[in-house]
């Protein structure tokens, strides 16, 4: 124990995390997946394409005249209903899904932490009013909430696009995605708010907070410099566990047709279009198996990393 005393709590947590082999392996898998998915488009560029096998150089949106080709030399994961190479589409989809998960979780993080910290720090009447709001929102089915929110945002965007300052296709696409981020973040901040509020409530009565108040620190400074750093551990843990939840939510929305719009793809929309091709005559198993496996693997790696972080930040661990 003594040799650890010179380390900060966060450094000690990182040490514990590295010693947890399962979580460290999951982190490596996750980083490997991210690197693969991010670097994949480079394979299609001219200098690399000459060296690599042809199957690695397909673009995700190029149509071809061999729909439903089973996995083989030409297409390692087969092709979809429009003859597009599934491998490149899965890579593209995984990239979008990870992006949605990260940004959506960040949005819910900002809302949840702000709401919880203000409620916990304000205390008394503020606290009860703000937390009753959270209770009421908890009692509404999230499905309805997210559908209404995303449709409302989309309609606003369409109106904008049709308006006098018509947006370009590219910009509209990014705006649609931003709307999705906001919608997903806005329905999943409730748990984060509850957790942060609980932590802040117990921190706010500590002597070191009184000390900084006596020294003349403003409320904003106390919250930002003294209270939030003490909640970091909890926040990071829940953020990691939030990302898979948001990726799942996006796949659900894609299944409804409200998520990522074609020709863009996410893992969820690939699953949805694979499920739509199920018929009793021919089985296109690769349309389900490959996106599904990548989706499950991503979620599994994120969950294990989140669990490892939670154990590492557990104050009773040493």
């Amino acid at each position: 124990m003594t040799e650890l005393l010179h380390l900060s709590p966060n450094q000690r947590a990182w040490r514990r995390f590295r010693r947890n082999r399962g979580a460290a392996a999951a982190l490596l898998v996750l980083l490997g997946l991210m690197a693969l998915v991010l670097l994949w488009p480079l394979c299609g560029l001219a200098p690399a394409a000459a060296l690599l096998p042809k199957a690695m150089t397909h673009a995700p949106n190029t149509l071809s005249d061999e729909p439903f080709a089973p996995p083989g030399w030409e297409h390692w994961c087969g092709t979809d209903a429009h003859g597009r190479d599934l491998l490149s589409r899965v890579c593209h989809g995984a990239r979008i899904s990870l992006l949605v998960g990260l940004v959506g979780a960040a949005v819910s993080l900002v809302i949840g932490v702000l709401w919880g910290a203000v409620a916990g720090y304000g205390g008394g009447k503020w606290d009860s009013v703000m937390m009753r709001c959270v209770d009421v929102l908890y009692a509404m089915p999230a499905v309805v909430f997210v559908i209404v929110l995303v449709t409302a945002i989309n309609a606003r965007l369409e109106k904008w696009q049709a308006g006098p300052h018509g947006l370009s296709e590219e910009k509209a696409h990014w705006l649609h995605m931003a709307g999705l981020f906001v919608g997903l973040g806005a329905v999943s901040w409730l748990t984060m708010a509850r957790i942060v509020r609980g932590q802040v409530l117990s921190l706010r009565r500590r002597p070191f907070i009184d000390a900084s108040r006596v020294l003349g620190a403003s409320h904003a400074r106390i919250l930002w410099r003294h209270i939030l750093p003490n909640v970091y551990g909890v926040i990071i843990v829940y953020l990691t566990l939030m990302i898979p939840a948001i990726i799942l939510y996006e796949s659900f929305l894609s299944y409804l047709g409200l998520g990522i719009q074609p020709p863009q793809a996410s893992l969820g929309s690939l699953m949805a279009s694979g499920a739509a091709q199920i018929n009793p005559i021919r089985i296109y198993w690769w349309l389900i198996v490959f996106p599904g496996a990548v989706l499950a693997l991503t979620l599994l790696a994120l969950t294990f990393v989140g669990d490892g972080l939670r154990d590492a930040f557990d104050p009773q661990a040493d």
Binding site: A139, P141, I147, G292
Partner: protein
Amino acid sequence: MYFLKRILFLVPLLVLISFLAFVLVHALPGGPFDRERAPASPDIERHLLAKYHLDEPILKQYGRYLNGLLHGDFGPSMKYRNHSVSDIIAAGLPVSLSLGALAFCFAMGVGLPLGFFTAVHKGHWQDYLGSLAAAVGICVPSLVLGPLLIMLLAIKWRWFPVALWASPWHAVLPTLTLGLYFAGRVARLMHEGMLATLHSEFITTARAKGLSETSILLKHAFRLAVLPVLSYSGPMLADLLTGTFVVENLFQIPGLGVFTVNSSLNADYTMVVGLVLLYAVLLLVLNLAVDFTHCLLDPRVRYD
């Protein structure tokens, strides 16, 4: 006394929730009649709006709705004409209830023993294998599991029917698809609850008294270790019983989940508010029941 207060508090909470849902759906772009053929004349459209009182100010509409609720009337559905919301709920709820109850039993039946078993064997290969299984259960979404099961077990090997809701045989695949995620969650909660309980002092006391290990685990530890699962089972049951879109849509089951999604997409105002209220009542009542059971199981918990 505490529970009496909470029951009384339910009524204003539900009114608030219904109002929020009412305002929320009216914020949807367009109205319930937008997706249909364009009305023959503006006159017809005006009559249509007037028939459903959509031309009145929103507060007045809400007052009318609330008045209907007091008389047990959820109003007419605006998308499925000639059907009232109560009719549709009465038709879909039994299906969703039975599917949800089956999935709940599956989740508990698999999750509780798995969590118990892995916690007892902490640090051994049984623990690693079982915990991995629980994590896989959480991470294979029904959107992946459902199509896989249909393709393998229903189409390729023809063990089970592909879809529809008729015989008990039809219920197997949907129950598995729906229940696996919750089984994983229950197993993990049970695992953690068990580990925390086994560290507490009353277990050491029980061991010191010389009680048998079986009696310690089953009689003393289980009762407290199950509490996290109990708290989770309230929201879990509310989610399961009111229907889930993906599973119902994959297996063509006529439950409420499909209606929940479609009515939100179609701005079917009365239908959405009715379903939101149904969910809220279930959730709040179940949470109340959970807290009450919590009190009974753990003598240290006191509400006042």
